[in-house]
Symmetry: C2
Subunit: 433 residues, 2 copies
């Protein structure tokens, strides 16, 4: 198996143009798909369960006669924990514990203070009432994704967590059910696609309406999430997965090559980039990539990804590497360096930062504790990993003392009249003593 991976030099005159075109990725918007999804949502809004059943029969080749047949009770999820191997159960249990313990640190608390005028100010933090979790079915059905989405919601205090997972031709994944049991998912419906998103957003006779929907899905699911946004909250629509590795040239080149490949094997649009000041090391990693690639079960996917979107980039020094990392704002950033802590303050934009030669990105995907749902396509410039805070929201609290209401009323009245809003002004003026 041959491999042609892009080699760039950050000192080249046209480097920034090359980098721009390397990073450019726009998901094509398919107007036809958008319309089909719109029709599905409309049908579910109007006909509820009937439409969901009909679409599920058609798209998932499933023969359910009623929605009740598509629900999996908690006892069934618990059963899954006994059907998987003891080693798998132990690994999932440890992962759940570690994810829970990391996320406990993210919980936001209410706060308040009384000022000198005797007025009370604050924010009351509350959990969302009910959340929907989309889990893809078939081969892309990942138990790790169940844990990463469900546990932060439960840590936040979400009272009811509804999971949907399609079971095309009746196929299901015991590990997904087991993960749902461990994560404390409350109800599971075996439905998927745009019809599942519509059912969660608007509710049907059987499926309760939720306040927010999270979790990955195919292009139908992504389009449906975009269309119901506003009616419910949604998480970010994820782009292809990415890794950026900054290495000083002292890590085993096989390790770095496999870290790049672990990203490239995700899908053909995934992006794996290495920055290193040592050209000789880049050669070694290239050799490792060529040697290791054919030994992978998903070699064809990884090859396409590396050739289309990968790069080995020679940088002048580690400062330039950090500047480029901020420019790229990668989903995953490995600092495979001698003193990674020293460089951390220079990194402003990244979804997750893996420090040191031992912290393989793959550990973060499954077991380390931090969330694996991360901002992609440079959106780490303005967004954050999925977290407990995504399942909490805030209400401002204001209680003015009579004295404060009088004093502030005068100022508010002046400003309101400046904006020609006289009812605002007079509502404030009533409280002037």
């Amino acid at each position: 198996m041959t491999l042609f991976i892009r080699r760039l030099n950050a000192s080249a005159e046209d480097f920034h143009q090359q980098l721009d075109s390397l990073l450019a990725f726009e998901a094509a918007l398919d107007a036809d798909l958008e319309r089909r999804v719109q029709d599905i949502i409309q049908a579910v809004r109007q006909q509820g369960d009937h439409a969901v059943l009909e679409f599920t029969r058609r798209f998932d080749q499933c023969e359910a006669a009623s929605m009740a047949e598509l629900e999996r009770p908690k006892a069934r999820l618990e059963q899954a924990l006994n059907r998987i191997s003891p080693a798998e159960r132990e690994a999932l249990t440890q992962a759940a514990q570690r994810i829970r313990s990391y996320h406990e640190n993210q919980k936001q608390l209410s706060w308040r203070y009384v000022d000198d005028d005797g007025s009370l100010f604050g924010q009351q933090v509350t959990a969302l009432d009910r959340v929907g979790l989309y889990v893809p079915g078939g081969k892309a059905s990942y138990p790790s994704s169940v844990l990463m989405n469900a546990i932060p919601a439960k840590v936040a205090g979400v009272a009811e967590l509804i999971m949907v997972v399609p079971t095309p031709r009746g196929e299901h994944n015991e590990l997904v059910f087991a993960a749902a049991a461990l994560a404390g998912v409350d109800r599971v419906f075996c439905i998927g696609g745009a019809q599942a998103i519509a059912a969660l957003a608007y509710g049907t006779q059987s499926i309760p309406k939720v306040d927010k929907i999270t979790g990955p899905g195919n292009s139908y699911v992504a389009s449906a999430k975009r269309q119901v946004f506003g009616q419910v909250g949604i998480d970010m629509i994820a782009g292809p997965s990415e890794i950026l590795v900054i290495c000083d040239g002292q890590t085993d080149p096989n390790w770095i090559a496999m870290d790049l490949l672990s990203q490239a094997e995700h899908d053909e649009d995934a992006q794996a980039i290495l920055l290193c000041p040592d050209a000789g090391f880049l050669n070694q990693v290239e050799d490792s990539l060529k040697r290791l690639l054919p030994t992978l079960s998903r070699a064809a996917i990884a090859k396409t990804s590396l050739e289309a979107r990968g790069a080995l980039i020679k940088v002048q020094d580690l400062s330039q590497a950090c500047a480029l990392a901020n420019r790229i704002a990668p989903e995953h950033l490995e600092l495979s360096l001698e003193n990674p802590e020293q460089w951390l303050p220079h990194i402003r934009h990244a979804g997750a930062i893996f420090l040191g030669r031992y912290t393989a990105e793959a550990l973060g995907d499954y077991i380390a504790g931090p969330n694996h749902v991360l901002p992609t396509s440079g959106t780490a410039r303005f967004s954050s990993p999925l977290g407990v805070y995504d399942f909490q929201k805030r209400s401002s609290i204001i209680q003015c003392s009579p004295t404060a209401a009088s004093q502030l009323g005068k100022l508010a009245s002046l400003l309101a009249r400046g904006e020609s809003l006289t009812a605002h002004a007079r509502s404030a003026e009533y409280r002037i003593i």
Copy 2:
């Protein structure tokens, strides 16, 4: 001026249907407008300044020969502070101070811990680099909106804040420039509409590309924000403003009526609803509304709003009122009650909660301190007031010790092989000692 305001009884059999139809509001999507906005964005992406100038000349009837002519330097903003009246300057200055001091409490801090295995976990919190603030021009040009959007960004530590405000036919508002000076806005361009949003999202020769855009605007601006979302972050697209008042019947009915009117005068789609267990008090408020309405400068707008979307609702008791508040999840909630604190824990969904008879909602619009950009249309079920946290983002931090990498590597390998991702598994396995 006559006024017909809806009277409902929460004990009526069909009350929940009546409430549903009262709350129903869907902003019509205009496919033609969407396409025109798409064309504007494309033109700005391709032609930069040239397109922005061209659109500004056409839509704002402005004769600028270059983008430089459309920029207002900091000195010009400072000048505005001297052009407004001393009373206005004082009111804006106090508002800015109070908003800043409230928002300081929202700042999120980085955190980290080292576990028993010697591994480091945490989250690094950083500010966005550069933010764009849209301010509507003409009559809807609100200095309070400049303060409410700009100050949280500056408290977060945003290095560069770019404001855009259209000046149709050269008209501008000194108060808006003065508010920009007080809030610490870094650069101001007199452009607006979809072209201003596109310029901020993609950058032009003169206008720097930002990471997030906040601020209200007309339907072109809202559509443009939706279309550039993903390229940059955006705040929520606001629906019509709403107030829900819960009163025990002991507040002056004129006060309550004016509080309802202060919301109704915003626009014809605004919603003002009163819940009270005392039918006699509802009659008094209705009388006050009828008497006060004709005395308002925006009486026609307030009348349309109250008749189309307002309601005076008789509830059984205050518990039922709180349950309805959670069902409605209003933008603004007044608890005009004797012991408002007692009822606060029962309120789960509201943008801002105003406690006690003295805390008119209008105080919160201008001067109290908390933000006036709040979730509308029931989105308080899953979202929060605009705050410092909207201008900060988080990066996960993970550093595994060699021992931890070895132990976790075994578990990650097992889970990765369960998901058929062998490069993930082998990347973890390399670190097993």
